[in-house]
Symmetry: none
Subunit: 221 residues, 2 copies
DNA sequence: TTTAACTCTACCCATTTGGGTAGTTTTCTT
DNA sequence: AAGAAAACTACCCAAATGGGTAGAGTTAAA
């Protein structure tokens, strides 16, 4: 059961949301308020999983509301509902701690799905809002990412690892789990584990960390 | 009619995508390639609306591919398909010019919807990927921003690691297990684990391998 | 054609790790 | 003296990992 609290000043919308949530299996609206101030007084007691919050509120600004509620419950998942797709508000809300950002015209089914996704660690966003966030990254040329061309180790035993083993070791160095590596290569995790046992023997290591350190430092990958 | 080009090395997936797109009203697959290099030769002639691109490709790196194709068609909408939900890749792709980022397990209906949304100026993202993007805004003090601020290389806050955390991370990079680190520092393994939880949060990683790779590559240790 | 090297899959088991909660103590700053 | 930040410890659980055995099929070279 996902416990939801709503903050929304429009009576019609608020009641509609409440009915939608309470009327759906697995969801429960444990509180609904028309102002942040009221919500803040009860939020700790209610211990909701997700807070649905209108951003264009009278009285306390929605952004302020997010900051305040985050002080009380830092890990609360907050979904922002908005009419405007206004840049500054989006970024301020996200910085303040919102996990997702939806336009109000989002259909009920999508909204429920978004609540569930947010509760499970996702960040549902209306796609036009997501674009604004994305653009923030693409505009600037973030330099990092060394993208090092490896110094062709002309060394001796570079060939001790088979092509497949190199491929698998690379997956690890890129930060993937055995499971992720298995999926990316379309083989079973057992095979991945088998290869790693052999890789460890050849590199004389006994853990992921050692293998990664050695692989990077010796330019194996 | 949305004109789509596909780059995907796995034959089964590529053909499946092509059939899905061609078989759907309003969508047309005008090209499908197993390598970026091949796609780049034809892309200008094909004038697609959306480019669906696998990021884990042989030969030319998917990120490189995005950069190259953006040189040819700066306004092309690019959707990245991936198996990994790997932080660096996500941000590299977005910085390179991708508009959306989907995991491969996205069901066909969602994929078609994503293509349409992207074509209409949105940025469809799998919600767990979106969360990773969002986290860079909320978690750290990404000071004031949008437009004017410098690239804020999105996790330049490696220096937020405390001296003790650096010491412990070094132990890992040197190939030690949690237990070995604990013994060498005369603290309990629980303390080591505690520090690693904090280190992981700060570095935005979730495993030893990721932490080691990041530590070495970014010169943290 | 036999061998060797490589790749793949499946079990088993014990240990380690990732992530969470819930504290106490120390140290430094205000 | 109070508070914040850092360091430390413990306990829980689920998942991932390290290492073992045992076997399959493939390919290329001897």
């Amino acid at each position: 059961m996902i416990r939801v609290v709503i903050v929304e000043d429009n009576d019609t919308i608020r009641e509609g949301l409440k009915m939608l949530i309470d009327g759906t299996e697995g969801y429960s609206c444990v509180g609904s308020y028309l102002k942040c101030e009221l919500m803040l007084k009860s939020i700790e007691r209610l211990k909701p999983d997700v807070l649905l919050m209108d951003i264009g509120l009278p009285g306390m600004n929605g952004i302020e509301g997010i900051k305040e509620v985050k002080k009380l419950l830092p890990d609360l998942t907050i979904l922002v509902l908005t009419i405007y797709e206004e840049n500054d508000l989006i970024f301020e809300a996200l910085c303040a701690g919102a996990s997702g950002y939806l336009v109000k015209k989002t259909p009920p089914s999508k909204l429920l799905e978004a609540i569930r996704e947010a509760n499970e660690g996702g960040s549902p966003m209306s796609s036009h809002i997501a674009r604004k966030v994305i653009d923030f990254f693409s505009k600037k040329d973030v330099k990092r990412f060394p993208q090092q061309t490896k110094p062709t180790s002309y060394e001796k035993n570079e060939n001790i690892l088979t092509p497949r083993e190199l491929e698998i070791l690379s997956g690890l160095v890129e930060g993937n789990s055995f499971k992720a590596i298995a999926e990316s290569l379309y083989i079973s995790i057992e095979t991945v584990r088998f290869h790693f046992r052999n890789i460890y023997k050849k590199l004389h290591v006994h853990s992921q960390s050692e293998a990664v350190a050695k692989a990077i430092r010796e330019g194996i990958v």
